[in-house]
Structure formats: C-alpha cells, structure tokens
C-alpha cells in the first residue's frame, strides 16, 4: 500500500498530494519546513512555506515562486489537507501536518521543545505517523535551561571586557545568531555582525521582525570600534584571517556539540556554550510521546540509536536515510561574503 509519505531519492514525497517536503533535488512543488540550507534547496518550481520563512528564502535563494501560509491555517493540495505548525527551531520553522483518508502524518523538520522567545513555541500535533529528526538523539545531550546558558554567555563577555578582550561568538547566521542578540540585549551594547549574519539579520528586519540594533563589520569599520567589542560570526569565519581584526579576542562557540569537551577542544574554542536550536534527548522523547503516534520514522542524527530505543519503549520506529543534517556536521554551506 502506498504511504501518505514515501521516502524517495529526491526527498520526502507525498504521491497523493503530488508534492515534496524539503526535497534535496529540484521538484515541481516543494513544501519547506524552514530556511536552513539543508532543508530549503534552490531550483524548485514552487515553494510553500510559513510567511516568516519567505524573506529568508528570498535572501538565500533569490526570486522564485514563493507562496506562504500561516500556522494552523489548513489548505488542500490534491485532496490532502495540509497545515503548518510551529516547530520552535528558528524563525518561521514549521512542522507540516498532512491528513488524508483519516490518516495524519507530521513531518517535524528540525525542532526544539524549549521556547526561545523568537522562533514560536513548539506545538505538539497529534498524529498517526511522526517523522522526527535525531540530531542530538543520545542521552548525553541534555541542555541546561536557556536562561542559565544566556547567563554564562553574559558572564564570559564580562570577563573578557575586564581584560579588554573582544568576545567573538560563533553561531549559525540564521537562528542562533538572533537568539544570541536577545541573550546579549541586557548589556545594551551594539553588537558587531559578520556579513553573513548581517544578511540574514536584514532579511528578518525588513520582514518586520523586531531585533536589537546591530552594526555590520566592513573594511571601513574604524579600528577603535573593533577593540573590546562583541561580535557574532558564522562557523566559517572561525579559523579565517577575518578574525584577526578583533585582536585581542576570545572565541566562544555556541552549539549543542559543545556539550562534549572533546568537541570543544577540537574546535580550539576558548569557551563553548551548549546552546542548541535542536531538541535534546528529553525533548525528542517528550515530543514523540506527545504526538501519540503509533509509528515514528527517525531521520538525520543518531537515528539508529534513537529508533532502537523507541522500539524498546514500545513505540514502533524505523530509520530513514535523508540528506539533512549536513549543515551542522560539515559547517556552513551558506554563501558567505564579508
């Protein structure tokens, strides 16, 4: 029997609706969960996403046939009832719910269960089949509360200031960077942005999203301005000569991978903050259980372990091979220009 969603070499395909969700090869009709580059690829003929995702897709992929929808506003595509629901991963990120012949499937895309205050609070959607990510699907990944993590970032910046060092925070341009701006806001200081972060920032601001004031680093930025500053830069800048401008400086990497000391040492970071836009182990388990799904497909991450654990807990589960997750593992694929 044909499933509501088939796993094909182009991506997750809904044959009945004649569309794909987050395809990694060009298709006629693509429903996009969020604007990260491993989920939203170029060259599709039609894009359907949440309205807040559209400006990000425009900034990243240029002009295309973009259609938008709001959360919890069902529409029908070839008889399949489709609705978007907040996923809490980054601004605009959505889970996509499909309903056909009384069967409900939910594709989570990437998600986190803690409300970060800017991405929209993750909504638990009842379904028969749930497709979940597993980026941090091992029990070693348990995040500290956001407030505690923000505090350690602030303390670290203060410490650097005391010795007249700049604080360079390494974070993904889309998602983490904006969260950090909110985290740093209490210091009431204009943060400097790397060009790639700036591009995303502009796209969000022009779409009407309120973010703290920032300043772009350009070759013309006066030297005094760079000293003793707070900077947000993407992972690709981390070991580039661009960083030299800020000397003396300390580097703080913000990523869930920083949970493990070995990763931090490998990154050669002065500090690591396990601040993630993905659900941790407990978050994944809660999300899965709350959907009430009788079958769970596990995509990118520790899919073998997470899926086996779910099976042992009595939740039928299987792994699915996708091409997601490359952004986290191999660094930024974004087009970075300074």
């Amino acid at each position: 029997m044909q499933q509501l969603i088939e796993f094909t070499n182009k991506g997750l395909c809904c044959p009945q609706g004649k569309f794909y969700i987050d395809p990694w090869q060009p298709v006629d009709k693509a429903l996009i969960t969020h604007a990260h580059s491993d989920h939203a690829k170029a060259c599709n003929k039609y894009y359907l996403s949440h309205s807040l995702t559209k400006p990000l897709l425009q900034a990243r992929l240029g002009d295309n046939n973009y259609q938008t929808v709001e959360w919890n506003e069902p529409l029908y595509i070839n008889g399949v009832k489709v609705s978007f629901h907040p996923a809490g991963h980054i601004i605009g990120s959505s889970q996509i719910r499909l309903e056909y012949n009384d069967e409900v499937w939910v594709v989570s895309g990437d998600y986190k269960t803690e409300n970060d205050g800017i991405s929209g609070a993750f909504e638990s959607v009842q379904c028969n089949v749930f497709i979940t990510e597993s980026t941090f699907g091992l029990p070693i990944y348990k995040w500290k509360p956001q407030a505690a993590l923000y505090n350690s970032v602030l303390e670290w910046i203060q410490k650097n200031k005391e010795k007249n060092f700049s604080s360079v925070l390494i974070a993904y341009s889309l998602g983490k960077a904006q969260r950090l701006l909110t985290a740093i806001a209490p210091l009431q200081e204009t943060v400097l942005l790397h060009g790639a972060v700036w591009n995303m920032h502009q796209a969000l601001v022009s779409a009407g999203i309120a973010l703290p004031p920032v300043e772009r680093v350009t070759p013309e930025t006066p030297k005094e301005r760079l000293k003793n500053s707070i900077v947000i830069a993407p992972p690709s800048a981390e070991s580039s000569p661009w960083m030299k401008k800020f000397e003396p400086y300390e580097v703080g990497v913000c990523s869930g991978w920083m949970q493990v000391r070995g990763n931090m040492r490998r990154r050669n970071a002065d500090a690591g903050f396990a601040l993630s836009d993905h659900a941790d182990w407990d978050g994944l388990l809660t999300a899965v259980k709350e959907t009430g799904a009788e079958k769970v497909f596990v995509t990118h991450g520790f899919q073998s372990a997470f899926s086996r654990y779910l099976n042992e807990q009595g939740i039928e589960s299987a792994e699915v091979k996708t091409e997601y997750g490359t952004e986290d593992e191999e660094g930024q694929i974004e087009n970075e220009t300074i």
């Binding site: 091992l138 029990p139 070693i140 348990k142 991978w257 949970q259 493990v260 000391r261 070995g262 990763n263 931090m264 040492r265 490998r266 050669n268 970071a269 002065d270 500090a271 690591g272 520790f302 073998s304 372990a305 086996r308 654990y309 042992e312 191999e330």
Partner: protein, 540 residues
C-alpha cells in the same frame, strides 16, 4: 571540589599555555595545603588505587539513569571518555543536594576504601554522584578511573607551583619526584629541601632531547658534539644511596624489582651514585666483540615489562643490561652542572670500576664530519638502534625537554602501503569522529590486517575519512565499523617483529599514518610477502 573542577575545566579547554599557568597558580595560591599536595600528586602521575572498574561504574550509572547498556555504550563511544560519559548520563542534581566537600576529602575517602567490599564502595560512589554537579562528577570519575590526562603537562604544573612558592622550577621538579604518597605528605615538607633528606630513592628529573628535523650541519662544528646511539629501550635512572639500589623509569615508576640483573650493582656501585641510561635487552657475546647481535630488539624487552614476577625463562631469553650514558650524582654530590665532557670522564671511571656485564657504557661514536656520521647512522638498524643522539659537549644536565643541547637524529621510518578496513571513534578531542583505523595488506585475494594507527593525518583529513566511514560502513552499533576497503595510506613504523598474536604474524613498533595515498587504489597496496621480507631484514 568545585574549585578543582573549575581548574580542570580551564586546563582541559584553554588553548593558551599562559592561561593554564595562570589558572594553576591561582589554584596553588588559594587552595588548602592538603588539596595542593593532592594536585601535585595527581598531575605528576600519582593516583589513588582504583576502587571500581570502568565496567562497574558503567553498570551503576545505567542502574541510576535507567538506561539500557547498549545505549550507555553508544553514548560512551560518542563522548570518547568514560568519566565524562557517566557525568553526562547521570540524572541532573538539584542545587539543594550539592555538598561542598574538598578534593582531599574525596581522595582520602577513596584511599580509605581500597580494601572495602564492593557494596560499600558502590554506596560511597553513588552517594558522591548524588551530591555533585556535572563538572564535579566528571573530575570525580576521572579520579576513580585512574587516567588523569586533562590537557596539562607535569612541566606546567611544576612551573606554576614554582612561581607561587618563588623557587626555581628545576628545583621543584626534583623535590616532587620520587617515592611519596599524598595522604602522608605535608605540603611544606614536600616542596622544601627537607624532602631530599628523607627520601633516598628520589630520582632527578630526566633531561629530554628534541627531534632534529634539520640537517646536522645546522648544529655547527662537529667537534663540539658528542654522538651516541639512540637506543630503543626504556630510559631509566639507577640510584645507589644508603646501601640501597633504586631503578626508576622515565615515567617515574620504581621498577627495581623487575630487573634482578641489576641487584649486583647494589654491591658494586659506590654510595651516592646516580646514573642515567637505557634499559636494554642485551646478550654479551662470549668472545667480547661488537654490539651487533648483542643488543636485542625492543619486542624482547617488552616481554619483561608489565609482569610482576620475572620467570627464569624470561631471564634467559631476554636478559637486560643498563647502558649508561650519563652520571648525575657522584659521591653524594649533584654534578648536573658540570659539563657533559667532565661527567663522561667520571661515568667511564665508574663503569670501569664496576666491571660487570649488567652495566655497560653506551659508547661514544667517533666521527670527524657530519657526512661521515650520516654514513654511520645508516647502520643504526643493524644494532637495533633508532638513530643517533647528539649532545653538546659543554652542556649541563638540564630538566625536562629543552631546545639546544640534546638532539635525537632518528633514522627514517620503514613504510608500507595499506588499505583501511576498520574504523573506530577516537577519544578526547577526537570524540565522535572516526579516527582510529585498522589497516590491511594483500595476500592473494584476501586482505590481512596487520596494524592499527591513530595519528598522522591533519584534522581536515580526519574529517574527510570520518565522512567516508559514516557513508561506507556496514554495522550500525558497537565501536568498530567495517568499511569498504578503498582508502590507501602509507604506514610508517620504527621496527618489525614476529608475533603470533596477530593474524599477519608480525607486530609493528610505533605504526602511524605517513600520508594518505589518494593516488593509489587497493590493487596497488603492498602484500603480506612484502611485510615478511621486511621482517626477515629488520626483525631480529
């Protein structure tokens, strides 16, 4: 414990030596004397005895966290560190449960429980876990699991300590060496002159050489240098004081009992003598004669290491001698500040006076030009040497690894082209990356594994191989991945010996990846016959 956990955090993650020194100094300035003694002990390789095996700790952690054991193992292989994996997997503690015990409190408890039964030890450990935060649990587990490599060298610790007590680092290095236990040692006694008067076994810190990467011509005039063979044995110090004999390894381990051959020196050596040299497997030929065939391979010496009692058979098959190349103390007087030339004269006198096969003089190599020495160096493998040592004749005996006066000029390694067949995740900074590989050579249509190697690639290359492994492996669980035999590497090694423990019949010494042969395909790798030919040529 929180202060110590914070110190370990800085030492483990800081990328700047100065920051580490600063953190250590701060710790030494603020910690209690008891805690300080323990920190000195821990960072100089003196650990409490283990009171629980890794697998027991893992089991208890699974019980408390309600996790299946396979998931514990997956987590552990991803973290790459048992202590850290357990710290991360245990359920989080409430702030209110945390207890502010000191480092020495925990270490004294651990020491006291050495002879307790398992239930008592389990209760202690579980109770401790339940009163600690994640960072404390990590260092506590490190204390329990023995290995305490956390990104700081003994040298850095010594430098920081020296700075806080305002004494020269080389003096501190000497005072904290030797045979003492943290639970019975007083801080002030340890770091003052007092320590030398009560411990007769105390060795001197070893002077270590740097590898010579340039041509020896860069060192200047040949006649200013003394050349010796670079032996492939165990660096050691022999001490005779107060009518007692002590043998120390470079790892500051007292190994007197392991080498009964040296007992005779207790009578023959004069009191107040300290010799630096190499423990080598050695069979003097009855006719006297050269070193060829007399110095045996490291593989033979290895059969003597790690055994508590040496059997008569081992004594016969792998007898040892001490090849002395320096003298640090003469008639009870520290003579490390005399020149090498002067020390050599004294050394030769002593060896002559002892006149026993167990004590050999490491010979000085005669040469008048660097070119001539290069020729002699090519013969190193014939006498189981690794190359040549170059020591400045006017040099004093220094502390630790110092650039300038002592160089090791090693011969080029042996190499063989092989294909990677298994991969395992690494540990430490290679956590969650496939960086430990097993290699195979061809034998007809078969592939035969013969070596494991963990080093020699850049971080970028490791990342590429890691991606290959993740895409091309068969198993989903467990530490080892069988991968498609496709990637070819040149493996370098220092020596080869026959072995019945390995399928290939050979064991390599210090195998490592020399380079990634992206230009080669599996069909072009070396064969088992090639390895056997090498064994024939160099394996004796």
């Amino acid at each position: 414990m929180i202060e110590f956990a914070e110190l370990v955090q800085v030492l483990g993650t800081s990328t700047k030596t100065n920051d580490k020194l600063e953190a250590l100094s701060q710790y030494f300035l603020s910690a209690s004397d008891k805690d300080k003694v323990w920190v000195i002990a821990l960072f100089s390789g003196r650990r409490p005895r283990r009171i629980a095996s890794g697998s027991l700790l893992a089991q208890w952690c699974c019980e408390i966290s309600n996790l299946p054991f396979w998931l514990f193992e997956e987590s552990y292989h991803t973290v790459g560190d048992l202590a850290e994996a357990i710290a991360l997997l245990l359920p989080q503690n409430n702030e209110t449960n945390l207890l502010p015990h000191s480092l020495s409190y925990y270490l004294e408890q651990i020491t006291a429980l050495e002879k307790a039964d398992e239930a008592t030890r389990k209760k202690f450990i579980v109770d401790c876990w339940m009163q600690m935060n994640t960072e404390e649990r990590f260092v506590f587990n490190k204390l329990l699991t023995g290995g305490f490599r956390i990104g700081v060298s003994q040298k850095s610790m010594v430098n920081a300590l020296a700075r806080t007590v305002n004494t020269d680092p080389s003096i501190i290095a000497h005072r904290i060496s030797g045979n003492w236990h943290a639970s019975t040692t007083d801080f002030i006694e340890l770091i003052t002159e007092h320590s030398l008067n009560i411990d007769f076994s105390k060795p001197y810190p070893f002077y270590l050489a740097y590898a010579l990467d340039d041509e020896p011509q860069t060192l200047g005039e040949p006649h200013e240098w003394q050349a010796e063979w670079k032996w492939d044995g165990i660096r050691g110090q022999i001490i005779k004081r107060n009518d007692e004999l002590f043998v120390w390894s470079r790892g500051e381990e007292l190994i007197t009992e392991k080498f009964p051959e040296y007992q005779i020196l207790q009578t023959c050596l004069p009191n107040g003598t300290v010799l630096d040299g190499e423990i080598l497997s050695f069979k003097a030929s009855p006719t006297g004669g050269g070193l060829e065939g007399a110095v045996l391979s490291f593989a033979l010496l290895q059969t003597r290491i790690g055994r508590k009692n040496v059997s008569r058979k081992q004594l016969q098959e792998a007898p040892v001698a001490f090849f002395a190349y320096d003298i640090l103390e003469l008639n009870g007087e520290d003579i490390r500040n005399k020149t090498l030339q002067e020390r050599r004269i004294e050394l030769e006198k002593i060896v002559e006076q002892v006149k026993n096969n167990s004590l050999q003089l490491s010979p000085v190599i005669d040469f008048d030009s660097w070119e001539a020495l290069a020729k002699i160096r090519e013969r190193s493998r014939d006498i189981n040497a690794e190359g040549i040592m170059l020591k400045r004749k006017s040099s004093t005996y220094q502390v630790g690894r110092k650039v300038g006066d002592w160089w090791k000029w090693k011969i080029d390694p042996l190499t063989i082209d092989a294909v990677m067949v298994y991969a395992q995740k690494g540990s430490g900074r290679r956590s969650n990356l496939y960086t430990d590989y097993t290699f195979a050579v061809k034998n007809g249509d078969e592939l035969v594994t013969f070596a494991k190697a963990y080093s020699g690639l850049t971080d970028k290359e490791f990342a590429q191989v890691d991606a290959f492994v993740k895409r091309n492996s068969i198993e989903k669980f467990g530490p080892v991945r069988t991968v498609k035999p496709e990637l070819v590497f040149e493996i370098a090694f220092e020596g080869i010996a026959s072995s019945n423990r390995h399928k290939s019949g050979v064991a390599l010494r210090f195998p490592r990846i020399h380079r990634w042969r992206k230009d080669k395909i599996v069909d072009e790798i070396n064969t088992l016959d090639d390895l056997k030919k090498m064994l024939e040529m160099y394996g004796k």
